[in-house]
Symmetry: C2
Subunit: 448 residues, 2 copies
């Protein structure tokens, strides 16, 4: 029998645990799920005969090593900064390790140690990063194999609310980490266009969002550039590609309204609003207008500050959030970003019956036989409700499938990796189809 | 005989050294000027019989202590972060210390040690900070003494080019630290208005500049808020004042054009432009426009990005800087801020015959005998040329005068201080008049 250890039983673990437990009997697996909330681990195991729940405070080194020592494969769903502790144990105890998080520099430095011990350390094995790597690499390899020459690669992903559950003016609800949504894009986005490096500072990022077309789903969409577009240039084998862009998808109109929040100053997490618990949201907004902003009401003065009509769609979105309400802010000396996050948590909460939706689109421009072509590969995937989101499934299933591949001995590449190899992406993408994860493709000639 | 040690003989030391040498014979002073450039120190001493030049590498602890040990008063003109080393020596060797820099937390922590040893550690004894403190406190104390109640205090300072030497479209040249000009305002400005805290994020700071009226000088002016408006609330005895704002003065039109540089992304010092030495300024500007910015030329696309006409005044200012020129950038992997600074150093260079000009204006709103009044106190001061700037004089003279007060035993307040006490501001402001540093005042009823 093989032993699988899953560390962390939170929201993002549901689909993964479900997958490995379902396959456990057939493959003769024991699955141990540990968490510092034992009840949560027990809920997820749900009395499955091949499953076991365990309590673990991950900072208790001996307990952690005891559990890891008895496993063959470890899946870490811990917060990203904690993976490295688990990774050191896995090196010492010779265990394979799988995560869905970005691979840190510290983790990459363990690559030789892992390879020497014949260990598989796979990171970025979730949705984004994860399925984006695999689905992109499959197409990139296909285009290259048939002799095509890639000239542009654009890749967009969005975790959204399904159009039919879309009942607020922002066309957005939280289906993942709210903090990341509030702080998204801070810094400077970099990408390549027509062979040239491009930069977009945060102050223009949301103003410069571009419309994108997604077939097969209701609604209109737009995308803003990610900070990291150039990160995978070499890993993807696209070193010389003239155009390379990664972006985040939102419903159309979201970005210009979010840009208003940026412009007002509400996404800043670097300083506290003194005595914020004594202020109302209305008073907070008033703190951002000065004597140079004209109008009779704070709302009119904010509209003036933004240079828009007080009856505009953007102002309607701000008002709907409750930013002009006389309700007290329930946080002491909090940063603007935290106050905003707290407000959005309530306003953008996924309701039990709400279905989320993942959109992913890759656009490959390439030349084949002297002709220019555009291959568009699109994934539209809905969740079943707030407790079984498409997001959690698409993060968890690739890890679950990969666990199986490891235990079946089908992975030859050792050391620290991300899933860009055919031996990984082919079987994973193939099995994902059984769960309704299927890209639709369009490959067409462009121009004359 | 008393011994004065001046550490640092750079540009900002000229007026100070001139002052103490001129007074040296009369008061029986020996003045030692040290610098790691001996020739520079010799130039400044200029063979004066009471002066001596010395070579000092300030990081050589023994040399430094040797010089400090032989002094009665030490004036440090070192970069701000180095004052603390000198301060520790001054504690150990029981010497008074004077600087024109902001007093750091570490420096304030030496307050008790200095006071116990009867030492005077005076910081912020230059122009801004310095003359601003003294001239403001004089008026604040006067208003309070006659029974007035302050309701608003606004204070603005600008280091500018004299209108008659103003020959570029920005109406600005560098008369002080260029780096500080390029990075000015990054973060969030905070001030008080009508009893309420106000915040202005960097992305709006220059867009939200307000016009201000300066009598007695040609030209039109505007001001943007400083980050630190609330810093001196308690020190100035203005804890409960409803309106409190400090700002920086520029010629009108400067701020909206600077805001264009901010919006494009050119003031960011947090990331390098890869291979910047291979780019032209034109190519750099091109790196900031994306496919969503329309136009045939990079200039047109930048205008589109800024949402302004390509023939507008702002675009003229950008073009005048050479931002659309095909000249190569002479810096390797430099940040946008450094590239911009480097360009401006050339374009905004003070020519030998150019006169700089300091503007300072305090506005005090107060109630007296049931009536609302506005007292405006304004300083306009021109320099003599690029080697004898008003800036250097107004930074150096207050320190020089204060050295005299210390050696005459007229300063009773020991420990770490800034110049807000009457025993300091009265004699300093009085003597500054002899150098043409005189505020003009207007005190008038406001409203009905």
């Amino acid at each position: 029998m093989s032993n699988i250890l899953v560390i962390g039983a939170g929201r993002s673990a549901t689909a993964l645990i479900g997958y490995v437990l379902t396959q456990a009997k057939k493959h003769n697996w024991n699955v141990t799920v540990c968490d510092n909330n034992l009840e949560l681990a027990q809920q997820k195991v749900a009395g499955h005969s091949n499953g076991r729940a365990a309590w673990l405070d991950v900072m208790k080194v001996n307990d952690r090593r005891d559990l890891i020592g008895r496993a063959d494969v470890v899946v870490s769903l811990l917060p990203a900064f904690l993976h490295i502790e688990v990774a050191h144990d896995c090196i010492r105890l010779k265990k394979h390790l799988i995560t869905a998080s970005y691979v840190s520099k510290e983790m990459y430095q363990l690559g030789d140690d892992a390879a020497e011990r014949d260990l598989i350390f796979m990171g970025e094995m979730g949705l984004d990063p994860g399925i984006d790597h695999m689905s992109a690499m499959q197409k990139i390899d296909e285009i290259k194999e048939k002799g095509g020459k890639l000239t542009a690669f654009r890749s967009y992903t969005g975790g959204l609310i399904a159009p039919e559950c879309n009942d607020n003016p922002w066309n957005y609800k939280f289906t993942w980490n709210p903090r990341n949504v509030v702080l998204a894009g801070q810094g400077t986005a970099q990408y390549r266009e027509d062979g040239k490096l491009k930069y977009i500072p945060y102050n223009r990022l949301f103003a410069d969002a571009v419309p994108i077309e997604i077939d097969g789903v209701a609604g209109e969409y737009e995308a803003y550039a990610n900070r990291d577009s150039l990160l995978y240039r070499v890993t993807y084998g696209l070193k010389g590609i003239p155009t390379l862009l990664r972006g985040t998808i939102r419903n159309r109109g979201y970005c210009e309204a979010w840009n208003a929040l940026v412009k007002i100053g509400l996404t800043d997490g670097s300083y506290p609003i003194l005595h914020s618990h004594k202020l109302t949201y209305h008073a907070l907004m008033e703190a951002y207008v000065g004597s140079e902003h004209k109008g009779n009401t704070v709302k009119e003065r904010i509209a003036d500050l933004l240079g828009i009509d007080v009856k505009s769609d953007i102002m309607h979105k701000l008002e709907w959030l409750g930013l002009f309400s006389k309700k007290k802010i329930n946080l002491q000396n909090a940063t603007p970003a935290l106050i905003l996050e707290n407000l959005l948590l309530d306003k953008w909460k996924l309701q039990p019956e709400d279905k989320d939706m993942i959109l992913m689109q890759h656009q490959f421009e390439y030349e084949l036989d002297g002709k220019k072509r555009l291959l568009t590969s699109t994934l539209v995937m809905r969740g079943a409700g707030s407790h079984d989101t498409a997001m959690a499934r698409l993060v968890g299933l690739p890890m679950g499938i990969f666990v199986k591949l490891v235990l079946e001995g089908r992975i030859t590449q050792k050391g620290v990796n991300i899933p860009v190899m055919k031996e990984v992406y082919e079987p994973v993408l193939e099995e994902l189809k059984e769960f309704g994860v299927e890209f639709t493709e369009k490959d067409e000639l462009v121009g004359g």
